[in-house]
Amino acid sequence: MSIHTRLVDDWLVVVKLRGELDAYLAPEVRERVEEVLGSGASWLLMDLTEVEYIDSVGLGIIVGAAKRANERGGDLSVACSRVNVLRVFEISGTKDLLNVLPTIAEARAVLEAARARSRASESPGGGDA
């Protein structure tokens, strides 16, 4: 399992995972995600396009990160195109909850839209100023 994080446009943290996200490797991933959340990030894109396997422990880390992001007014999305990994999200009923989409561009777009809505609702006139 390899984990890389990068900040994009000063608001979005992309967490790219490669390999198998199982109970053995989950603690390492949990630690890195905690670091990201601890640094104040509230918009996370989990890039799982190169993850070959996920189990309920790995899934639990992503669900936990989504809750934390939601609590601070942000959100999380997942880019995942591998059929077997996608199937775990579908079966567990977390596909919609976690904004699981097939490409990084789509996963980013859903967060951009959510952020725009959030900013519009925060501004006094309801606009984007």
């Binding site: 396997y53 189990d55 422990v57 077997n84 199937r87 079966i91």
Partner: protein, 145 residues
């Protein structure tokens, strides 16, 4: 016609997550011999991983895990177009009634998610367990058409 003894694989290993990858590979190799499709095999890998996670997380106390006395046994029986897997431990066990309702529901409680995933990924599943008597999780994956 497959020979049940000839086509049975048995692995005994410590309850340690570092062996999960090896168990999945062994089960996938056996499932391939049973003529399952690629997606069937992927489903079976998830199911066996979840069953082993259940042993690792719940069957024993930390001391037993640390000392290596906490062990689990994975048996794979390759049939004609189907694979039966049994994952057993001799740990603390539980009353299966406590998880049955969660397994039947559409949205499982997070604590039972692993067992729910096994049920959804396989064609048949049952749990034999009782407090103090260990646990055996049995599931069957058939070749999809």
């Amino acid at each position: 016609m497959s020979n049940p003894l000839r086509d049975t694989l048995r692995i005994e290993l410590p309850c340690d997550a570092k062996y999960l990858h090896a168990v999945r590979l062994a089960v996938a190799g056996a499932a391939n011999r049973g003529g399952l499709t690629v997606q069937d095999i992927e489903d079976l890998k998830v199911a066996v991983g979840e069953a082993c996670n259940n042993c690792i997380e719940h069957a024993f106390d930390e001391e037993a895990v640390r000392s290596g006395s906490a062990r689990m046994r994975v048996t794979v029986i390759v049939g004609d177009g189907e694979v039966r897997v049994e994952v057993e431990d001799e740990g603390r066990g539980f009353d299966p009634k406590h998880v049955i309702s969660a397994l039947e529901s559409q949205a499982p409680a997070s604590g039972n998610l692993g067992l729910y995933v096994i049920k959804q990924m396989t064609d048949y599943m049952h749990i034999e367990s009782a407090p103090g008597s260990g646990t055996k999780i049995v599931f069957v994956k058939r070749r999809s058409r």
